[in-house]
């Protein structure tokens, strides 16, 4: 079996331009809840952009300069927007049964993204470098240690926490976000539950 040919065939069958950049949607796509996913993505773009700028200037910059403080504020509020939109998206997809008709893997990726985002946000809070970081760092050590994560993670090691926050988890998140979106586009939006038929 030629792996390259198999991949090309599968991709060209399941990810056509009509799937990837649709100019039409089923008529049932008519609700504000369909905007929650793209609002999550939009917030994510701003989270990443502000984070990259902060990382390029270094941790002291966003703690000590007014411009750094402003970018930290952008990062803070875009994270709030991201979690708000993502949580609403998750709740909406639950009520819509978004996993139906062969879409279970899309749901699994989305749920994993939620969990990873929570850990990513927590490492961000610990990288703020203020009392909130200090307090939660010493408090959370008992939870991380108790869970047995201490074999891998020293939550009091800022070098490790910062590295995880700006490189390890963002790369995994980007990969999973891309995969999640591709799955949504590949399968199309989940059809509505069947209407009640009046006898």
């Amino acid at each position: 079996m030629n792996w390259t040919r198999a991949l090309r065939t599968k991709a060209s069958e399941q990810l056509t331009w009509d799937d990837l950049l649709p100019s039409e949607q089923p008529v049932y796509v008519s609700s504000l809840v369909y905007s929650l996913g793209v609002l999550t993505l939009s917030s994510f773009v701003i989270v990443v952009a502000s984070g990259v700028i902060m990382a390029s200037k270094g941790a002291l910059w966003y703690q000590t300069s007014s411009l750094g403080d402003f970018f930290r504020s952008i990062h803070f509020w875009s994270v709030q927007a991201f979690f708000f939109a993502m949580t609403m998206h998750l709740v909406a997809q639950f009520f819509m049964g978004g996993w139906r008709e062969g879409r279970a893997f899309t749901w699994i990726l989305g749920a994993l993204l939620f969990g990873l985002s929570v850990v990513e946000a927590f490492t961000g809070y610990l990288s703020r470098g203020d009392f909130f970081s200090q307090w939660n760092q010493v408090q959370s050590k008992d939870a991380f240690n108790g869970a047995g994560v201490d074999g891998f993670l020293n939550v009091l090691n800022n070098g490790q926490i910062y590295g995880i926050h700006i490189a390890v988890l963002p790369l995994i998140l980007l990969l999973f976000v891309g995969w999640h979106v591709l799955e949504v586009r590949r399968k199309g939006v989940v059809p509505p539950y069947q209407a009640k038929v009046s006898k």
């Binding site: 969990g115 307090w135 240690n145 108790g146 869970a147 047995g148 979106v181 539950y193």
Partner: protein, 376 residues
């Protein structure tokens, strides 16, 4: 025989115009404006971290009590256990969590070693004595280290008692007369070292090789007990105050941790000595349930039973009702089984029949009730 499966291809539904790029651009624009506006108007919370120097200056007695706990092994970190140490002087660890013998905390040994007597007191003071050519301090450290453990404990306990009555005058400890051996010299020097601002540097030197300072473990852990708990309590940030769930100022905090924080408010999590371990695994199990919703019988039907989807797709259902699409549908019975009635579906499609909801629009849809629509 493999059961035929009726594919519910979304492209077989009636379609309408849609511009994904435009929707994405508008969405990004809206979020950017809102976020920039909030950032400009409100900024973001920032409360400077508490330094050892601040505490040594503002409350020398508390600072001295913290150092004494580290020296005599009564401090929480002195007797914590893995991953930092194996308890104090042969005593079993006091902070190891275990659920019916399940204690993964202990699996990795002590990868982040901390001997509080050495690391928090004796080693920094040795450095201070050498840096300042303080022969008196150096000999006090050496006298303490050379003394039998029982003698050390006698001095330490006398000092612990004295510190409950000690006062601070001009930033210096004033102790009642007593038999403290070299410990009074050690503790006074420790307070002075803290007040100078050099103490953190000494602690950070211990957890970092060479020049760079990435690991602040020992610095963070020195104040982690009574001192930080007192300050956090004043800010409503302790665990039982829903601590981590909210920021310390009037800003939204990490509210997405609510289910986790909630556990700390109720027994058994709030009262168990393994509360943190229990909370971590409870959340892990809940998260696993979330991931597996599509496969959990009952849970994967909740959304079908609850009528929330009727609200989300209300325009669609109104359309089906107005056109009578479902009542005349050849798949009427099968549809009720989520299009999985293979026999009816295959037979009907062979006759060239089309499900009611796939038929081209003969009636216009009700006016969209929303301004936005997107598919991600």
């Amino acid at each position: 025989m493999k059961k035929a499966h009726f594919s519910r291809d979304t492209l077989r539904f009636p379609q309408k115009d849609f511009d994904m790029v435009k929707e994405g651009t508008i969405s990004l624009g809206i979020v950017a404006v809102v976020v920039l506006g909030l950032a400009a108007a409100f900024g973001a919370p920032y409360r400077p971290a508490i330094t050892n120097q601040q505490i040594a200056q503002s409350n020398p007695v508390l600072f001295a009590q913290t150092a004494m706990g580290d020296l005599d092994g009564t401090g929480a970190m002195a007797q914590y256990g893995p991953p930092y140490n194996n308890g104090f002087h042969g005593q079993p660890p006091q902070s190891t969590q275990s659920i019916a013998g399940f204690s993964p905390e202990t699996w990795w040994g002590t990868p982040y070693p901390l001997n509080t007597a050495q690391d928090d007191v004796l080693q920094p003071l040795t450095m201070l004595a050498k840096a300042s050519n303080n022969a008196n301090l150096l000999s006090a450290v050496q006298q303490y280290e050379a003394a039998p453990f029982s003698q050390q404990m006698k001095w330490d306990q006398n000092m612990e008692k004295a510190l409950t009555k000690a006062t601070a005058q001009g930033g210096q400890l004033v102790l009642p007369t007593g038999d403290y051996g070299p410990v009074s010299t050690l503790i006074s020097a420790e307070v002075s070292l803290g007040q100078s601002g050099l103490f953190s540097g000494a602690l950070n030197r211990e957890t970092n090789q060479g020049v760079y300072r990435y690991n602040v473990q020992n610095d963070l852990l020195f104040l982690q007990g009574a001192t930080l708990h007192k300050i956090a309590g004043q800010l409503n940030m302790k665990g039982e105050q829903w601590g981590i769930n909210h920021d310390e100022q009037a800003y939204p905090g990490p509210w997405w941790l609510t289910p986790y924080t909630f556990l700390y408010q109720i027994p058994p999590w709030s009262v168990s000595s393994a509360g943190d371990e229990m909370a971590a695994y409870t959340v892990a199990i809940l998260f696993l349930l979330l991931i597996l919703v599509p496969f959990i019988p009952g849970l994967n039907k909740v959304s079908r039973i609850l009528p929330v989807h009727r609200l989300i797709w209300r325009d669609w259902y109104k359309h089906l009702e107005q056109t009578g699409a479902c009542s005349t549908c050849p798949f009427k019975e099968g549809c009720a089984k989520e299009f999985r009635d293979a026999t009816a579906a295959v037979a009907a499609s062979q006759n060239g029949e089309v499900p009611g909801c796939y038929r081209p629009l003969s009636h216009p849809l009700p006016s969209p009730t929303t301004v936005a629509s997107h598919t991600v």
